[in-house]
Subunit: 330 residues, 2 copies
């Protein structure tokens, strides 16, 4: 492997000069810099990050920690997050992907990372977040709302997005509106439920608690909860699903019951995963700007790591209602 010493020898300067030239130090003559840079390129030099890291106290590694990577997370969530982060991460950093569900927090090698992006989907992640905070480790939390003002947090306005969607449904004449939520302890479940409730209240529609169900964001839970709803004597006409997977499961249940969407029952999803525009019928859903959220989160983390001042520690991005064909006009 070619090191700065090799370059130094070739250039007839000291390795210190090479280091400075490569790091664009103002101490070095421009001419010298050019020569050394040129040489480094020719010799195919690439820095040893272990050595750099050892002296700079840096790891050049960012960790992306995911709630329950191995279960319950819709997979394009992951892909979108990674794509978003990479799009703003400078080349000095690598991105390491891990799952949060670790039994013993002290097992986690924080040492390996300069900072963490926590993609949080559940209150279960709170101990992890508390741990990071206690250790004063640089991190940002993306997706889930964290009340603590000290925690840098990028979220989407789920409740507003849901409200907008349900408002639209109500505008189409729906009043018997059901909600199939995600996991009980996922913050997003409550957020989205709140959105439905607010919308109902605004339109002075009485809430029917039998219509408010809790699933676990899985396809199967959508199927089962919808089967339950369909077993009711008084059917809802519109079902807001906590995420697209639930909606897909619900759609399946409707078909199994010999009914049709939206003719017999209307459906709204959440996330806008790629597949739902190809469903039969294409699903009306709320798009969450996950990629953008990760980009903002990464920028903030980089600011934090590199000691820049953070002007704004809470960012909330807007969702977007995507109208397709799963809502009936009554």
């Amino acid at each position: 492997m070619v090191t700065i010493k090799d370059i130094a020898k070739a250039a007839g300067v000291s390795h210190t000069t090479v280091s400075r030239a490569l790091n664009n130090s103002s101490l070095i003559k421009n001419e010298t810099k050019q020569k050394i840079r040129q040489l480094a390129k020719e010799m195919n030099y690439s820095p040893n990050y272990s050595a750099k890291g050892l002296v700079n106290q840096k790891k050049y590694l960012i960790g992306l920690f995911f709630s329950s990577l191995h279960k319950g997370t819709s997979s394009n969530f992951l892909a979108d997050s990674i794509a978003g982060i990479h799009s703003v991460l400078d080349t000095n950093y690598s991105l390491s992907v891990e799952s949060i569900d670790v039994v013993d927090l002290t097992e986690i090698n924080l040492q390996r990372y300069d900072g963490l992006i926590v993609m949080s989907q559940s209150d279960d992640d709170q101990p992890f977040i508390d741990y990071l905070k206690e250790k004063e480790f640089p991190f940002v939390v993306v997706n889930r709302h964290i009340n603590d003002p000290a925690v840098i947090n990028v979220t989407a306005d789920d409740a507003a997005g849901v409200m907008q969607a349900v408002d639209y449904g109500i505008g189409c004449g729906h009043t018997k509106i059901a909600y199939i939520g995600g996991k009980k302890n996922f913050r997003s479940t409550k957020e989205r439920e709140k959105g439905v409730l607010k919308s109902l209240k605004k339109a002075s529609i009485p809430v029917n608690l039998a219509y408010f169900l809790t699933g676990d964001y899985s396809l199967e839970s959508g199927l089962q909860n919808m089967e339950y709803l369909l077993s009711l004597s008084d059917l809802p006409t519109l079902v807001f699903c906590g995420n697209d997977d639930i909606a897909i499961g619900a759609l399946r249940a409707v078909h199994l019951a010999g009914l049709r969407v939206p003719q017999n029952i209307s459906l709204i999803g959440f996330d806008d995963s790629p597949v739902v525009s190809y469903l039969n019928p294409p699903l009306t859903t709320v798009r969450k700007p996950l990629k953008e959220m990760c980009q903002e989160g990464t920028k903030l983390l980089l600011d934090l790591i590199e000691g820049r001042t953070i002007e704004q520690s809470k960012i909330e991005l807007s969702t977007l209602l995507i109208l397709r064909e799963s809502i009936n006009y009554l």
Copy 2:
């Protein structure tokens, strides 16, 4: 940060002894080891991987390089791969996820990794693979078949899986069989097409070239190609789709045409992504053991990195036909 020197001081030994104890050297008395390990735990020691890496010439970082991460890859492909790799990766290593589509190969910092897992989906990745080989960099290629015997390669027997599926279709009485492939230059496209062809030949069914289409593994390409097939005067009765996304798009096209699966036309997918068992109808598909493939690949890479002898450089895992409800019995 607590270092081995701190532990040494606390234990009243030299830092060398601490290093050896922590690395379980046989040179150290068991009693001493115990004491030092205990102390390290109490003091919350965790090694500095930059320092370790600097002296050991290791990076403690494995790279997962993906074909076109930002386009065209079904997203649970990524999630399954990461889960598979983590399940066998020992805790000393982090996993960094990157995309292969880099313009200039020399831009890639191979230096940062001990080895690479290349999740290859396209012949376009070949230059990258050639580059790694030329650099004698440790890597394994997962998913795509590489003829070079020197390249460690874990694949699935796509052609056999497809054959099994098409054989089943033929057994149900189908003879007018179409194929919608993936991207033209993706090896898997050819592999799967070969499977269809072989199956047809075995049953002495003449091939109708008008039925052999090429898409790009996207939902949209499934929709469009199926629309084309449906415009034919002589419709196929069974369509084998190169992956599940194509099948989902095709299913949409069938519905749009006012037809039904499987009553009017039968469909087979490939991948067994989570969503397809909740489609209407649930999709018959070929499951590719992606997670297992990644596990095997990771094990081999670790063997390579740690200098163990590789007894078998080519591993091919079997696919599994998942029968659901998208094939009609004629």
